[in-house]
Symmetry: C2
Subunit: 329 residues, 2 copies
């Protein structure tokens, strides 16, 4: 900036004003400065500007990753959520800093906030971090989480209607004559727990009680769908339906079922969750519960900005929708 000032024969103040399109600069001077700046590929140093202005237009998107398994974040839905967030935040003029933290040290998610790097944090995946998240919120870290609303929650969540999702998925299987429906998902995770609740409700409406033998605590890691089907086989469980808590899991399960010689949907009906892009092209095309990804990204950003603004923001529940294709009919 000093260089430009020198070359333009003005002070840095004038350059600053010109670059910020302040009206208080002579038309001609302004043009000279702008031309100079663009010919030098000069851009205002954002770090210095932020320091001076005490502002910041960067948000952290944090994905917890399971370091025990050194598992990359690989769930396509969560990954695409990251993409959706990036889009929405760009639109709003925010930059997005992506960081990955150990699932058991989610506190670390606030580091970029504490050090003034970002103005807020979006956590993609609530996991088992309720307490840590509450602690962060208490410390005043503006944090918004993709996940389920929990009692005594001090942070804001945005999530799909998991109970309804679980209910619709199960109802669909029941409506197609399935009576022994396996539930694949880790109810230790709030979202899966709620989907399970929907599952139980749907069963109850048919006068059925959930059979513990049919419940497998499959994680969201790839491969878990396969493992779950093996586990059911090991238990000798009889089932004609599967409700999986993610499409990835459902696809793996279908693959494993096929390996067992069981046809989908003829022998076993399968319903997934998320409606990832590939779901429609899988074989058989996957019946699944759609989560509103774009709306979610929008809601997460809106909530975060409001939080940053100091407003209390209620958690929100986005509608989910059953997409009927062929895997359960």
């Amino acid at each position: 900036m000093a260089d430009i000032a020198r070359l333009a024969g003005v002070s840095t103040s004038t350059v600053s004003r010109a670059l910020n399109h302040s009206g208080l600069v002579n038309q001609e001077t302004r043009e000279r400065i702008l031309e100079l700046a663009s010919s030098l590929n000069y851009s205002i140093n954002i770090g210095a500007q932020n320091l001076r202005l005490q502002q910041n237009r960067t948000v952290a998107a944090v994905v917890p990753l399971d370091k025990s398994t050194r598992q990359q974040l690989s769930d396509p839905f969560l990954l695409s959520m990251l993409g959706g967030l990036a889009d929405v935040l760009s639109e709003q003029g925010f930059d997005i800093l992506v960081s990955r933290v150990d699932a058991d040290q989610v506190d670390a998610a606030s580091a970029p906030f504490d050090s003034g790097r970002v103005v807020g944090v979006v956590l993609i995946g609530q996991g088992r971090h309720h307490d840590q998240l509450n602690r962060m919120a208490t410390r005043g870290v503006p944090v918004v989480v993709w996940g389920a609303q929990l009692p005594q929650q001090l942070y804001t969540t945005v999530g799909g209607d998991n109970v309804a999702g679980g209910r619709m998925a199960t109802e669909h299987l029941l409506a197609h004559g399935r009576r022994r429906i396996a539930f694949l998902g880790d109810t230790g995770l709030p979202e899966a727990a709620l989907r399970h609740q929907g599952y139980v409700e749907a069963l109850a409406a048919y006068g059925l009680a959930p059979d513990p033998q049919l419940q497998v605590a499959a994680s969201f890691l790839p491969g878990s769908g396969t493992d779950a089907v093996h586990e059911l086989a090991r238990r000798g469980a009889a089932y004609d339906g599967v409700f999986a808590c993610s499409d990835l899991m459902a696809m793996h399960a279908i693959h494993a079922l096929r390996a067992e010689g069981r046809a989908v949907p003829a022998d076993v009906g399968v319903v997934g969750y998320d409606d990832i892009e590939l779901a429609a092209y899988f074989h058989p095309p996957l019946t699944t519960v759609r989560q509103p990804r774009d709306a979610a990204a929008r809601a997460l950003v809106a909530a975060l900005l409001a939080r940053i603004d100091g407003q209390p923001v209620p958690s929100s529940l986005l509608p989910t929708e059953l997409v009927v294709r062929a895997s359960a009919a």
Copy 2:
């Protein structure tokens, strides 16, 4: 920091030294300061520190996106590359700023560098941006690109061996008796062009010439695989093999073939590219060319750091590998 200094009864200089583990601080003073800092959840303001130190440990990962189609980056392989980069960069103590730019304004990719936000740029996807990338490199922007090496290239690329990949895929189909092999990919893109070259070479080794009727300029966008199969049908082209330039495309193509009543691999053998996570669980399990994602992420980061260091960095070619499953046998 001033607060801590006051509370500890020392000057900010001392606080700074203590926080930076400078040996020149009294043991006891240091401890008092550190305790104070952690009890206040204080972290050094990185912006100010960077300004003062003239340093920066942030790298931009830029994904070009096709604004004409408003298409999100959705290719699972590229998305997972982003994940791999995030891992490697974290390991090295770098933060990662993700931005999306219009495919036709890739110049904008250097904005975070010009404004001092990042020390370098990794571009995930070379596309048709050769000239713009050369221009960026000429301006001195440290930029490293996932893509193919091109003549007169001033920037550094890291890429898989596309020619070998194309050759192996095609050879595999040929070895299984396929003679009319469709090529699905846009040869306007450097990587697809090289894969096509491998395809042609493999055909030539069998004394076959490529049939233009069998070449469809399918993009990397989702749905293009489906479109390509429709296009082949429209042309009335006869084929018994398909080499698709991405797994996503291959999966879509298989779906479309099935809709046409053609079995894979019985009627048509299909080979994909990338070896995304789902490839093994697709039906039929996808035979594909594996791209070394983790090695690629590592190489990209190493190249970028060397570039930032001012060293000239040669482009590199990573080995690809044919993963034989069931879709082409």
